[in-house]
């Protein structure tokens, strides 16, 4: 990156820039909610608002990890099968062996850690392009899910799981538990990316990996850790998916193309696909926006076959809007 571009680069790290992207997303989401709400009052009912919020949590969790990876100029397509495998393993063990939620959590995180580390080691030490590595591990991990499930599926987990996925942390405050969990994880990730050496190293590698290496940053080690983190978040999202839906099938995650959705949401949130810039709050707002749009399509009686087209148009519009502003500022 040339010296001329430095000021805008510096501004990219400053909180003010990210706030504009976040405010835009909030404004668009609220505006859409009110517009559709005027057409159909049920849309702004407490029940539907809660549903839209809850519905975005799993995607948000996956997309937080994806944002870190993309900010480092990588990409992780294997998040979908990692989510599916974690949901399937925890779900089947809970269903057949009475695995408790307290034991399922470390188990899921371990699965994510191992699978994510495999991605990271392949990317960082073998110099294989991340899209190739995660494409390969995508079929490997979804194969593992298939073999492990052995044709069965999870449809009856204990009430503690469902309570975690749908209940409230405190009975007095009507905020669903998953939302609270998401906010805590968001805060942690945000702190790590903005205020730790590791986070700065992630952005530096995304901006220019050879410069980061020349500056003495442990590029290989940081890369491995980011992919491991992405795997853990995806696996945790898998556990959350299991708790929220109470079921898990072989196609959990991969069937919804959550890997593509998480990439889309990260970019909508203002993360640069070319690396060097990551906006975690934008990512979460982006997946909330996606959830609102998809629910709005249902309320507007759009035939289900067009949902995917709506998603595609939304990605184009959001990325295009981001480009326009970036161009104007530079």
């Amino acid at each position: 990156m040339s010296a001329v571009a430095m000021p805008s680069r510096r501004r990219a790290i400053a909180p003010r820039f990210t706030m504009t992207r976040e405010l835009t997303l909030v404004a668009v989401t609220v505006g859409l909610t009110i517009t559709v709400g005027l057409l159909n009052h049920d849309f702004v009912g407490a029940q539907n608002l809660r549903f839209m919020l809850l519905n975005s949590v799993v995607l948000s969790l996956v997309a937080l990890g994806q944002t870190l990876v993309i900010a480092m100029r990588g990409i992780d397509l294997s998040v979908a099968p990692i989510l599916g495998l974690a949901a399937m393993v925890c779900g089947l063990l809970a269903q057949t062996h009475g695995l408790s939620l307290a034991a399922a959590l470390p188990l899921a995180l371990c699965i994510g850690l191992v699978l994510g580390t495999i991605n990271g080691v392949l990317v960082a030490t073998m110099d294989i392009p991340p899209i190739v590595v995660t494409l390969g591990t995508y079929s490997l991990y979804s194969g593992l899910t298939f073999i492990y499930s052995d044709g069965t599926q999870v449809d009856a987990v204990s009430p503690t799981f469902a309570a975690f996925g749908n209940g409230h942390l405190l009975d007095v405050v009507p905020i669903p538990t998953p939302v609270v969990v998401l906010l805590v994880i968001l805060a942690l990730c945000w702190y790590v990316l903005r205020h730790t050496g590791f986070g700065r190293a992630v952005l530096a590698i995304g901006n220019n990996a050879s410069a980061a290496y020349a500056a003495g940053l442990p590029v290989t080690w940081v890369r491995i850790r980011v992919y491991a983190l992405s795997g853990m978040l995806a696996a945790f999202a898998g556990l959350m998916f299991l708790c929220y839906t109470g079921s898990a099938t072989v196609t959990a995650g991969t069937g919804d193309h959550i890997e593509l959705q998480s990439i889309a949401v990260s970019l909508i949130g203002g993360t640069a696909i070319a690396g060097g810039r990551g906006n975690l709050i934008g990512t979460v707002l982006g997946s909330l926006f996606l959830s609102v749009v998809l629910t709005a399509l249902v309320f507007l009686h759009v035939p289900p076959i067009w949902y995917s087209a709506g998603e595609g148009l939304m990605i184009l519009a959001a990325v295009q809007a981001g480009f326009g502003r970036r161009g104007a500022r530079a």
Partner: protein, 365 residues
């Protein structure tokens, strides 16, 4: 398809151009290893798995199961040469095939006319991709991701509740039939693939367009300054990729004798694997068409062999993933150009040889 010897090149560029041309013409080390691997795989399956190679006709007939992937891979490699990617190939294949089938079923068009319109539809969809990438300046990965969502919806909408099926036999033959000379049978799919493979190989190695394609992928800024109309080259790559995807979709619908809207979904990941395994750099500007063609046969025959040997579909695709990663890893380990592990490994081997004379020289005085 003529070779223009100088594309506004200075003498210095001539040298590199000549070097690049030689590199593109020759069958490099990677292609050679793929070819050796292909021979090993074919002979070991042929000897070890009954039913893999009973007679030549049966062996050739097996290619009908994977050649649609190969057709897509040919077009997709042009896009990857430019440093882009086309994630919409699967959706394009489905949409084009469904549109052609509906034109035949509801409007009573001749099936071949409908197929031609389907091909044009594929070109149009590729053109939309190119327009989004070039005019809106959106990254190819995001652009084609978004358009693939849109094309998928459109394909489902066009297909309707009951996807068209029961095409004329002449059309179905394109997917599953074979030309017969006595007892020898030659599948029509191979008859489509071989000329296309030769055409694409010539296009990339011997035409000005091919050279521009690789130059754009190598460095699009430099390509622009040397007078290449980068948007035009990109547009051509995406249009061709769309048309190849459409052709694969048509072949698939002939193979199944039905045009389903989710038919193309399986194409994407395997074709990317084929192109990358063929030695084309995912970052563009590097690779050879010959490698892609060998990789298509290698992955396809490997998959067929494993299926015949009794492995499940899932294990087979797991192995495809492992091969994809493993082959690139091996390639990088033995490549001196790429830094990192391979370089370090080679440095370990080489250091004594370099240090040897140095040490004696320092020890001498």
């Amino acid at each position: 398809m003529s070779v223009s010897p100088t594309v506004g090149a200075t003498p210095g560029d001539d040298l590199t151009m000549a070097k690049r041309r030689r590199r593109l013409f020759s069958l490099g080390g990677w292609e050679l290893s793929l070819l050796v691997l292909l021979i090993i795989v074919t002979t070991s399956f042929g000897l070890g798995v009954p039913g893999f190679f009973d007679n030549l006709s049966g062996f050739l007939a097996m290619t009908s199961n994977f050649l649609p992937f190969g057709i897509v891979a040919l077009g997709l490699s042009l896009v990857i040469f430019t440093g882009g990617i086309d994630l919409s190939v699967g959706a394009t294949a489905s949409l084009a095939a469904v549109v052609a089938a509906q034109l035949w079923a509801t409007m009573g068009l001749n099936i071949w006319v409908a197929s031609l319109l389907g091909l044009a539809m594929g070109g149009l969809l590729g053109g939309i991709n190119a327009a989004v990438i070039v005019l809106l300046r959106i990254e190819p990965l995001i652009a084609t991701l978004a358009t693939s969502f849109i094309y998928t919806s459109a394909a489902v909408a066009v297909a309707g509740d009951s996807p068209p099926s029961g095409f004329p036999d002449a059309f179905n033959n394109m997917g599953s039939g074979a030309m017969a000379w006595g007892s020898f049978q030659f599948p029509y799919q191979l008859l489509i693939f071989i000329p296309l493979a030769v055409l694409f190989w010539l296009l990339v190695t011997r035409s000005a367009f091919g050279r521009k394609l690789v130059t754009v992928g190598y460095n699009s800024e430099a390509a622009r300054y040397s007078g290449i109309r980068v948007p035009r080259v990109l547009a051509a790559a995406y249009v061709i990729s769309g048309m190849m995807a459409a052709l694969a979709g048509l072949v698939l619908s002939a193979y199944y004798s039905a045009a389903r809207a989710d038919m193309g979904d399986v194409l994407l990941l395997t074709t990317i694997a084929m192109v990358v395994l063929g030695g084309v750099s995912i970052f563009g500007g590097e690779g050879r068409m010959g490698g892609v063609i060998v990789a298509v046969l290698l992955l396809g025959l490997l998959r067929q062999g494993m299926l015949i040997a009794g492995f499940s579909d899932m294990v087979t695709s797991m192995l495809t993933g492992a091969i994809l990663i493993g082959s690139i890893a091996i390639r990088n380990i033995f490549s001196t150009r790429v830094g990192g592990f391979g370089k370090r490994l080679l440095a370990l081997i080489r250091r004594p040889a370099i240090a040897g004379p140095d040490a004696t020289r320092h020890d001498a005085p």
